[in-house]
């Protein structure tokens, strides 16, 4: 029960936050940080407790149940989300300084926090998907928060289209999975593993689900939205795009590993995309000079590493991934916050302009250095544990050799990236630096990253405890058998340690040679090869889709009344005729000749024919009215007086209204070409024939429904009336009638409003 509370409390707080902000503008965000703090503190004692799960029916016909679970795996994420969330809210409080735009951001962040908790606690795939899409929407709103800037809008749209498109694929995969097994509950899916992997649709499901996970977690080639999302303010980037939302794809892959994993398709896909992303992401980070872009690309690389580790399908790999999730969240969020703080304090994030900041901001420099050391994998930081575990995973087996090499390259480059992000702005040119103008100062903006960075250090010191309490249970909850290897800080002097040392040296070398990276990129750009990047592909795809849509619209929405009618009549004819291919048509029975009926029919036919030849539009309408009057006569002749009267009256009223409308039309018709008239004639005849066919099919089975017998029998007894029609309208089906007259009033409101507006503008042309 309390699981439901901690998730939906977030939504409730988001509703309330705007009012809170109005009352206490400078402190509302800090107040809201009590929510994630509360969640963190409540869940901390749950480490090592038995998993909680609950399940309530919600929309059982769709398989959607409110099923939540708190396994050790979910608990790991909940602690990360809430712990970092607390610091982010405090950071946001100082970053936005109580502005109204900041308040909007905090409100959406609350929704996001709740949705993220929803994702990690869901035990029903459809419920998970709902929260998944919620986070995409929140990301869209947050990235586009500076909505006056075209760049921000484009970036937000890009993020939404990529993650949303992936989300659609994910939904398809989830539904297929549910059809295979008959349920969307995760424990049931995990138990049906062998059924799933031998099912013919298995490959399709894997492709769809991985599409969803890869777009969310920015794997190549879907990575490009993440650097674009850096348009968002830094608290958002630090939270969503480094520590939580982008990890959702990794979370999903890990969660579904017992359901979909173990096959070659799964493993190959994860390993190849993950490895590629890991290496390329790190390399791309060297090219840029905006601090946030550098960090964004290195996040891409880290996410690739995570996918790779899960895909390798070894028990050590899983544990390495879990450890690395914690490692990465701690140092990356800290570094992003440092970047934001630098932006506030100096007004720029460009590392070519930043230097020697440690003189002005020593505490900030400490925070950055601590986080950077964790990122570089230096002992005793937790980052070191993460790196060691990664290397250890690839040590087993020959087929992992190339993965080992890839990891080595990526890690070395990442160390160089640390240099870019930390050494350059803070320590470069210490002796000769010209101090930049100090634009602001705040304790919280420095304290928050410092807390996270120290967390990275402490986690490293207490590795064994974290390993035993958090990581091991989480891995077992994911279906892994318990591992022989214990997670600890120091394994002794072995090959892996040597590898780490070599990586450090390689990283420093790359750092010294860093200027070649932007130069190489410029060379590619000059040769026009940057046309093939994912970003450009996305832009081309978007442009051509819009272009195509424009052309289709201009063909279909041409504004010609005549052509709309053609399409309408043709479609209706087809819909009438096509089903009849299987139904019997009755031959019309010859009824005895009756003069009144024949006269009515004659009036209708003569009226129709006359309307073709009339020269005055009003006369045409009158001639068509004859058809209506003929029908009224037929009704009367066949014993339906109410219908006849109504038909008569409606026809008269229609004539009056049409006459009014005709007064406003120009007196001359445009001449039409002969072919247009032929089309008109052909389609009209076709439509008429279709209606005849439809009627013949209907009358082939003249069953009298029991409802009409019921009405007839009870009309006087219960309805107190002899006029069955009226009794039905006013008594038996009064609610229907109530609905109809409500619609009438609404329609009249609309029509009167439209026409009155034209009158008010002094324009009485149609």
């Amino acid at each position: 029960m309390f699981l439901i509370t901690i998730i939906f409390l977030g939504f409730a707080l988001a509703l309330v936050h705007p009012q809170v902000h109005r009352l206490l503008p400078k402190w509302s965000a800090a107040l809201m940080s009590l929510y994630p703090a509360g969640v963190f503190l409540v869940c901390l004692p749950l480490i090592g407790a038995t998993p909680i799960s609950l399940s309530y029916p919600w929309m059982d016909s769709f398989g959607l149940r409110l099923s939540l679970q708190l396994t050790p795996f979910s608990l790991l994420f909940v602690l990360l989300i809430s712990g970092i969330g607390t610091l982010i809210f405090l950071y946001a409080n100082a970053y936005f300084k109580g502005s109204a735009a900041g308040a909007r951001i905090v409100t959406i962040l609350l929704v996001f926090l709740a949705s993220m908790l929803g994702i990690v606690c869901s035990a029903n795939l459809i419920l998970l998907f709902v929260f998944w899409e919620l986070t995409s929407v929140c990301s869209f709103l947050l990235v586009g928060y500076k909505h006056e800037s075209l760049k921000a809008r484009k970036a937000a749209l890009q993020a939404l289209l990529v993650t949303g498109g992936g989300g659609l694929a994910l939904l398809g995969g989830i539904i297929l999975l549910g059809q295979m097994v008959g349920s969307y509950e995760i424990p049931i899916l995990a138990a049906s593993h062998s059924t799933i992997i031998s099912h013919p649709h298995y490959s399709l499901v894997v492709v769809l689900v991985l599409l969803g996970a890869f777009t969310k977690s920015a794997q190549l080639p879907f990575h490009f939205w993440l650097p674009g999302a850096m348009e968002a303010p830094t608290p958002v980037s630090a939270y969503l795009h480094s520590a939580t939302m982008v990890k959702a794809g990794v979370f999903l892959v890990a969660l579904l590993n017992p359901v979909l994993g173990g096959t070659e398709l799964w493993t190959t896909a994860l390993v190849s995309f993950g490895a590629l992303t890991m290496v390329l992401g790190a390399l791309l980070a060297l090219i840029f000079s905006d601090l946030k872009h550098i960090l964004a690309y290195s996040t891409v690389s880290a996410l690739g590493t995570l996918m790779l580790l899960i895909g390798v399908d070894s028990s050590l790999g899983l544990r390495a991934a879990l450890a690395f999730i914690v490692v990465h969240a701690l140092y990356k969020a800290a570094l992003f916050m440092v970047a934001g703080t630098i932006d506030i304090f100096t007004g720029t994030r460009d590392i070519s302009r930043l230097s020697g900041l440690s003189r002005e901001f020593p505490v900030l420099a400490t925070a950055a250095t601590l986080a950077g050391l964790s990122m570089a994998g230096v002992p005793p930081f937790f980052g070191f544990v993460g790196k060691e575990l990664i290397y250890k995973t690839f040590m087993s087996g020959d087929e992992h050799l190339w993965l080992l090499i890839a990891a080595f390259i990526a890690n070395a480059v990442t160390i160089a990236v640390v240099g870019l992000a930390v050494v350059v702005p803070f320590f470069r040119g210490l002796r000769s630096a010209i101090p930049l103008e100090k634009k602001g100062s705040s304790l919280v903006l420095v304290a928050a990253p410092l807390v996270l960075a120290i967390g990275g250090l402490l986690a490293g010191v207490f590795t064994s405890q974290i390993g035993a309490l958090l990581i091991e249970p989480a891995a077992i909850a994911l279906g892994s058998s318990s591992s022989a290897t214990e997670i600890k800080l120091w394994y002794g002097f072995n090959f892996v340690l040597l590898l780490s040392a070599l990586t450090l040296i390689a990283g420093i070398i790359v750092f010294r040679q860093r200027r070649h990276a932007p130069a190489f990129w410029d060379l590619l750009h000059a040769r026009g090869l940057t046309r093939y990047t994912s970003t450009k592909m996305y832009e081309t795809a978007l442009e051509s889709t819009l272009h195509f849509a424009g052309r289709v619209t201009s063909k279909l929405q041409h504004g010609s009344q005549r052509r709309y009618l053609w399409v309408l009549l043709l479609t209706t004819s087809a819909m009438l005729v096509l089903p009849l291919v299987t139904l019997p048509l009755s031959a019309p029975s010859a009824s005895p000749f009756s003069l009144p009926v024949f006269s009515a029919l004659a009036i209708m036919v003569v009226g129709a024919l006359c309307s073709l030849g009339m020269r005055s539009s009003l006369a045409t309408v009158l001639a068509l009215g004859a058809i209506g009057y003929g029908i009224a006569l037929l009704y009367a002749l066949y014993g339906a007086p109410d219908l006849a009267i109504t038909q008569l009256l409606v026809e008269t009223l229609t004539l009056i209204l049409v006459a009014y409308a005709l007064l406003r039309l120009p007196p001359m018709y445009h001449e039409q070409s002969r072919s247009t008239y032929l089309w008109d004639a052909g389609i009209s005849v076709l439509f008429g024939a279709a209606v005849v066919a439809g009627l013949l099919a209907i009358t082939a089975d003249p069953a009298i429904s029991p409802v009409s017998l019921f009405h007839r029998a009870l009309s006087y007894v219960e309805g107190q009336g002899r006029n069955v029609v009226n009794v039905i309208i006013v008594d038996f089906r009064a609610l229907d009638t109530l609905g109809e007259i409500t619609v009438l009033v609404i329609a009249a409101l609309g029509v009167a409003a439209l026409i009155d507006r034209r009158k008010a503008q002094g324009d009485d042309s149609p």
Partner: protein, 164 residues
């Protein structure tokens, strides 16, 4: 262009038509008639007034003209309200409740009940809605004076000559 003939005729005919519409309304439960038909007839009467006089009917008790949408709203309210009394008795909404019979001249003995009020509500709605439509389409009175009403049209139909 005001037609004296039409005005004179309308004076008698409109009153007849309105009374006839009420007659049809009240007798609808046992004989052809009812709320929809009555409402349409009454609209016809008001439309006739509009065509004859060039402006909507402005009774002495509503010198600025009455708003047809108000009538429609009143009718809707009446229709909804007619289903409420059964709720007070514990029965579902819109259960018909019948009282005694009263004598209405010309119509005869009519049973009073909630369906009757519902029907009156329907009558008012149809009257209001259709009158609103007719009024909104009616051009401002200045335009009518220049027009004879029949719009000449030139058309070429598949080879026939253009004729004015």
């Amino acid at each position: 262009m005001k037609s004296i003939l039409l005005i004179a005729f309308a004076r008698i005919h409109i009153a007849l038509q309105v009374f006839f519409s009420i007659y049809l309304l009240l007798r609808g439960h046992n004989l052809p008639g009812g709320g929809f038909i009555g409402g349409l007839l009454a609209t016809g009467a008001l439309a006739l007034y509009l065509i004859a006089h060039g402006q909507p009917w402005k009774p002495r008790w509503a010198p600025g003209g009455f708003n047809p949408m108000s009538v429609a709203a009143l009718g809707l309210l009446l229709a909804i309200a007619s289903g409420v009394p059964p709720l007070l008795d514990g029965a579902p909404y819109m259960t018909p409740m019948w009282g005694g019979e009263i004598f209405i001249p010309v119509v005869g003995m009519t049973k009073i009940g909630s369906p009757l009020f519902f029907d009156i509500g329907v009558y008012l709605v149809v009257l209001g809605v259709c009158t609103a439509l007719v009024y909104s389409l009616h051009p401002p009175s200045e335009d009518l004076s220049q027009d004879s009403g029949v719009v000449p049209v030139a058309r070429q139909v598949a080879g026939r000559e253009v004729s004015k």
